[in-house]
Symmetry: D2
Subunit: 138 residues, 4 copies
């Protein structure tokens, strides 16, 4: 397998969520459907937020929304029902008006990174205009 | 096959939505996952609303929400990717504070009713309290 | 709130899976979409299997499939993003050719049972015919 | 709005699927969840196949699978429940061992392209090895 893209830098904080593949996340090819990984990226990102003390539900109630503007996903190996997932997420870049997260979706057991990817987000206020991130996020 | 439950009464208005099974709606058994039918019941119900001139998005903006309180689903035959779906929905009962819809999910071609079921709904206002249905729905 | 249906019998084994509401599981009403609970029922059921030592992925490879034939779902209270879910599942009845599981979906914190329900399943062989459950399941 | 990426070449065949946003496809921000567009890309791609006479279900039965290896998604504008979707798909490149599709997800009415993107696929045989596309696809 070629080197996996989107590798965290040395010493970078990486948050990891662990869960089992859900049966509903598979498809008729007998493997996990490619859209399920997009759900796991989000789960990994929100787990990252929880793990650094950000309550995203509270952030939204306070009128700041994270809005996705771009996403890249690379599929390296198929996962199956019965597999346990390790969903890694880290902050790849943080600017005043945009944030990029990167992801590795890894299969527990053989440790293969089955998916790697990244997503870029901006902060919106209630009116849908681009705003700066909440103070507490810095 | 035994008689299918939830049959519309003679002369009752039945709205039908037609669409193809999506690949993402299948699972590793090679068939449509049972949760996909729940999405189709909702699609059939909202298609019913559209077909009788109700703009449900507008209803929500005006502060009235349909909230599901109960659902029964009977699975009769498996559907597969490639099948075309005919999702039938009709109003089974309408009371001041609750409405019941019934459903047949039918496979085009052989005409088999693969799922039948019903769902009961109440109307909520913005505060989450039970309210009466909008005037225009009567 | 009325008494919640589908209560486990005294001393009955109940398996509990714990996880956070996923953002994707919410809808435009700001609450968890009713179809998400159906995914959680399945997750609770497969967690039950894991907790009693059944490897369902292996069961399928050996040519026995659990097929759902009926489902009842009662919605008692809305859940939201930020809530932690406790998904309880127990075996309500076990016969040679059909099994019924029951479920409570509970919100951690206030402990409210937000959904209760049941699902009935039969065992199919590779040809799609009803078979008896694997020996090891008894 | 900046120019939308992934524009079809002059005279290129573009297949369009039309459907309404499903309520379940929205999230607590009141808009369509970003993962729903991934489902629509697939629907658009399979609609493309149907429209050029390819029966993808039959292709899989014959032992050839399309497997996604990479996906890019750009989100330009939020869609909502009530919107009607026009999901455009075209073949961006076709090589012996890989195919790239591109997509525009457009809102009917104002005609805004709310999402644009691309996905790259390879053909696998039953053993999971890379194979060439079926003859009939050329």
């Amino acid at each position: 397998m070629p080197a996996v893209p989107y590798t965290p830098r040395d010493g970078q904080y990486v948050a990891t969520a662990e869960f089992y593949v859900r049966y509903a996340e598979t498809d008729a090819q007998g493997i996990v459907h490619h859209s399920s990984y997009v759900l796991w990226m989000e789960e990994a990102r929100l787990n990252f937020a929880r793990s650094v003390g950000i309550d995203y539900a509270e952030t939204e109630r306070a009128g700041r929304l994270m809005s996705i503007v771009e996403m890249q996903v690379h599929y390296h190996s198929a996962m199956r029902f019965g597999d346990k997932v390790r969903a890694h997420c880290w902050l790849d870049s943080f600017k005043s008006r945009a944030m990029t997260f990167a992801y590795h979706i890894q299969r527990e057991g053989d440790g293969v990174v089955c998916m790697s990817g990244a997503s870029r987000h901006v902060c919106l206020n209630r009116e849908g205009n681009i705003a700066s991130w909440p103070e507490s996020w810095r």
